[in-house]
Amino acid sequence: MNLESEPLESRAQALSFGDLFIQFLIIGAISFGGGIIAYERILLVEKRKWLSPDEFMAYLAISQTMPGLNSVNMAVLAGDHLRGALGAFVASIGLILPGSVFVLGIGILYAGASDHPLANLILIGIAAAASGLLAAITYRIGDANWRHLKSLLIIFATFLLMSIAKLSLPLVLLIMAPIAIYLYRPSKAA
């Protein structure tokens, strides 16, 4: 698939840096509780048609394979696609700005109130729910992987090495990546 089939200039004229910034700022401000990728798809593919569904899927794959947060990576790639390097910068800053302000505000409150008994009790409840939330998101992102023996084994082995054997992350990747890539090598998949 050729992502540069359409001349960039014709798109570039269609949107300004201001528009790009505001659109990602809105996503950054309203996407509570994860699922930012879904909001980004609505904006990029459905609302503004800045990317084709195919282009979006290709960028999603890169976002997930590369280190970093998937939603931020997507903003970088889409921003670059639309308005080059500065576009990538503008889109990702827009995405993380609202949450940063929010989290810093709460963080300052927390630093001042972490010894308060009621604040502590509330945070205990919040933390318990957060682990439930994280488990639910993991389960959902895992999707079809939970039903295939090969991927289940890789998931389980990775978990064992990381959480039970307590190896460091680089070491876990060094062990698991070659095994997994061998198991999924092209000749076998074809």
Binding site: G125, L152, I154
Partner: protein
């Protein structure tokens, strides 16, 4: 000064290790913070929970860690070092990827990395659960939240806030 350099190096490393999203580096981040920066499990889970309440990427909670350790400057440095390295890498890989087009190895590397990142996320769940589930009440709250988020369309923020309020109430009465 050395604290800031340490923070910058640690979070740059975490940034480049975060294959499969931020939750994949949660266990690594937690052990790093407790060994080198004196942030214990309880504090870590508190800060993680704050991140869940914020809009946007939930890993923005790293800002709170930076703020706790070194004030506003610390928050800025952590933000920069956690987001910049991975974004720059992604930027260049994106351009390279577009140039290469479709290649069978691309698909298989993607397929191979997927279960690994899920395994790492599962480790993240384990790390957060181990620190936050401390008894019957918290276990029940976690299970109810898991169920509500998976099976209903209730906004996760409401579930989390509700759990905070309800949990506090329960624990006050049970004492």
């Amino acid at each position: 000064m050395s604290l800031l350099i340490n923070l910058a190096l640690s979070f740059s490393l975490l940034s480049l290790l975060a294959v499969g999203g931020g939750t994949a580096v949660l266990p690594e981040m937690q052990s790093l913070l407790s060994h080198h920066f004196g942030i214990d499990h309880t504090q870590f889970v508190h800060i993680y929970s704050i991140g869940q309440l914020a809009p946007g990427p939930n890993m923005l909670m790293v800002l709170v860690i930076g703020y706790q350790l070194a004030g506003l400057l610390g928050a800025g440095i952590v933000l920069l070092s956690f987001f910049l390295p991975s974004s720059v890498l992604c930027f260049y890989i994106g351009r390279l990827w577009n140039r290469f087009g479709e290649n069978p190895w691309r698909r298989s590397i993607q397929n191979a990395l997927e279960p690994i990142s899920i395994g790492l996320m599962a480790s993240g769940v384990y790390a957060v659960a181990k620190a936050s589930i401390v008894g019957g009440v918290t276990a029940a709250l976690a299970l109810v939240s898991f169920y509500l988020i998976l099976r209903t369309k209730i906004n996760p923020v409401l579930v989390i806030l509700g759990s905070g309020g309800f949990g506090a109430l329960l624990m006050v009465y049970l004492k």
